[in-house]
Symmetry: C2
Subunit: 211 residues, 2 copies
C-alpha cells in the first residue's frame, strides 16, 4: 500500500483522496490518503512549510508503523522529503523530485509550469541546467482559479510559452494541475510531452513498492 | 509500440529480444527489438561508440518511420541519445539516464554498480552530487562472466560495498545486470532499493508512450 500524504488539512474525503485515486486508477496500486492537522490552506510560503515539516514527519512515522510499503508526499515542493527519508525505512517519494526526474528521462529540454510561485527548489535541484524555461499562468492566485475556463486558458498559454522557449518536455511543478487534468489539454493542443507531478510520483511508487 | 534498440549485432533472436521481453512482461507494453549492423561485440570503448552513433541514428529514423511510438536505446551509456532526440519526433529514452533519473526519485544517496568501466557520463551527469559511491565486480571482464556463480557473487559483493559507503539506492549502470536478474538477489541479500536500467527504461516508456 502507498500512503499518500496531502500537505493540507481537510475533512472533504473527495479532496483528500483526489491524488491517491489518480494513482490507483492509473497504476493499480492500493493507496491510502492522509492529511496534516491545522493547515486548511496548506503550504504557501516558507513559514507554512516550516511548521508543516514536523507534522509530515510525524504522520510518515505513523503510516510506516501502520504498514505502508512506500510514502508519497504529494506536493511539488517536496516538503519534509529529506527529513522523512532520514526517519523512515520505506521508500519515500516527493512529487516535485519525481516529476523532475521523470522529465529528465523523457526528454532533453525541460520547461517547468509553475502555479503561483517560481520553480520549487526540489524541482530545480534535480533539473539543473536541463531546465530551459519556467512559466506560470497569468491571473491565477490559487488552485481554484485553475478550475475556471479562464484559468485553464491561461495555464495552456503559459505551457505554450515554454514550448516557444524550446522545451520538448513540460513538467508540472504544482499538483493542482493534476486534479484538473491539464496534461491531456496540453498534449492535445501543443503536442508536447507532459509530466504530471502526481502521476510521476505514482509511477515511481509503482516501481519501488514491494510486489 | 516501443522500439528497443540493442547496440550490438546478433542473429540470436533470444538475445536480441531479451530486454524487450523484460519490458513487455513487466509493463504490458508491446515492444519490437532491433540491432545495429557489424558490431557483434557491441560498444566497449570510445571508438566502438563513435562508429555506432550514426548506425543508431539511422536505425531510429527507420523505426520511427515504421510507426514506433517511442524508442528505447538499451545501453547504460546512452549512445547516440542526444543525436536521436535531435532527429526523431517520438520520445527517446536511454537506459542510463532513465535509471539515474528513477534513482533520483526513489532515494537520497545513490550508489552506482558498474560492470567493466567507470560510471558512464550519461549516468553521472543526471546523478550529479547525489552519486555517493561507485563499484564494480572484481574479475568480471564481460557480461558472460556475470552468468557464473562467481560473477554473481562478485557483483553482490560490489553492491554490498555501495551500501557500506552509504547508498540507500543502487542503480545498475550496465544492462548486463538486467538479463541475469541481479536486482532480486541484491534486494534479498542486502535489503536495499535497486534500479535496473532496462526496467527503468521500460517504466519511463510506459509513461510517455501514447495510450
Amino acid at each position: 500500500m502507498l500512503a499518500v500524504i496531502r500537505v493540507l488539512t481537510t475533512d472533504d474525503e473527495d479532496l483528500l483522496n483526489a491524488h491517491g485515486r489518480l494513482i490507483s486508477e492509473r497504476y493499480g496500486i492500493p493507496t491510502r490518503s492522509y492529511c496534516i492537522p491545522d493547515q486548511p490552506r496548506g503550504i504557501y510560503d516558507d513559514e507554512t512549510e516550516r511548521v508543516a515539516v514536523p507534522k509530515i514527519v510525524q504522520l510518515a512515522r505513523r503510516v510506516e508503523e501502520e504498514g505502508a510499503g512506500a510514502i508519497f508526499i504529494s506536493c511539488a515542493a517536496d516538503p519534509a522529503l529529506a527529513e522523512v527519508r532520514a526517519t523512515c525505512k520505506v521508500p519515500v517519494i516527493g512529487a516535485g523530485s519525481a516529476a523532475a526526474a521523470v522529465a529528465l528521462a523523457a526528454g532533453e529540454r525541460i520547461g517547468v509550469l509553475n502555479l503561483m510561485e517560481s520553480t520549487p527548489a526540489a524541482v530545480a535541484a534535480v533539473l539543473g541546467r536541463r531546465m530551459v524555461a519556467q512559466a506560470r499562468p497569468e491571473g491565477v492566485t490559487n488552485t481554484r482559479d485553475l478550475m475556471t475556463p479562464e484559468g485553464k486558458k491561461q495555464a495552456l498559454k503559459a505551457a505554450g510559452l515554454l514550448v516557444e522557449k524550446g522545451a520538448d518536455v513540460i513538467v508540472f511543478a504544482c499538483t493542482g494541475y493534476s486534479t484538473i487534468g491539464l496534461a491531456g489539454d496540453i498534449k492535445k493542443h501543443l503536442g508536447v510531452r507532459v509530466i504530471d507531478a502526481v502521476e510521476a510520483g505514482g509511477l515511481i511508487a509503482s516501481y519501488v513498492l514491494p510486489c
